[in-house]
């Protein structure tokens, strides 16, 4: 739980931070700041958007959450876990997570050839269901 991570990370835990941490823990999607704010307000209507921004900034700096950049979307967040990547269904906008040690190894290998140690990397894949019918109305992005 993010909440415990915060405490062991030495963060002062206020009710607001607890609420925001809970929202992030409970999210099975990848909410943006506004979505987190709306969910937090449901739990306690007094939570302010300023606190959400400040708290997300603190969680991020502490390495407890991870920002995700998806084309045609605001910046989203997820609780940091094992590193993994994202496959965006361009028909529906749905985001699928996946892991691939081979990609990870390959990335590190290539970076090393360039003389770099990898501290992190992010991979966003955009695609559509094999054999799926076209549905431009929901399409996020066509390349």
């Amino acid at each position: 739980m993010l909440y415990e991570e915060c405490i062991s990370g030495g963060l002062k835990m206020t009710v607001q931070r607890r609420i925001i941490a809970d929202c992030l823990d409970e999210a099975d999607d990848h909410p943006d700041v506004d979505a987190i704010y709306r969910r937090a307000v449901e739990k306690d209507s007094s939570v302010s958007i300023a606190t959400v921004y400040r708290t997300i900034g603190i969680f991020e700096k502490a390495g407890l959450i991870q920002p995700i950049d998806i084309v045609d979307s605001n910046k989203r967040y997820e609780v940091k876990r094992e590193r993994h990547d994202h496959l965006v269904d361009v028909e529906t906008g749905q985001i699928h997570e996946f892991k691939s040690p081979s990609i990870e190894n390959l990335v590190r290998e290539i970076a090393l050839e360039m003389g770099f140690d990898v501290s992190d990397f992010q991979l966003q894949v955009y695609g559509s269901k094999v054999g799926g019918k076209e549905c431009p109305c929901y399409r996020i992005k066509v390349y």
Copy 2:
């Protein structure tokens, strides 16, 4: 040249679009909207920020330029060429480009296993020079 791409793409070419296209063509870095705007104004001080936004939107929708999301940075743009990835030196902020057919194949393979055809993907790698000394002052992001 992006300029010619625009014409063959059937876009009405105004002097402003020409200027913005030139700025993008000439950029060897990865400018954000404001940087593009400032460079465009140098060529013709009457170019407005609204036109820069509108033009970038049009170029992007036409598939002529590519947005790049780098942590702790505004959205950046580059002229679309062969697909390639970005390695960000977290000490200096410098962005190196690289290509890797093996990563590309691997990504397509994994997506296919998940039942998806890949239309595009983006990979941003963050790292620091092997053996390089620490210099937190310029560090973009520490994970």
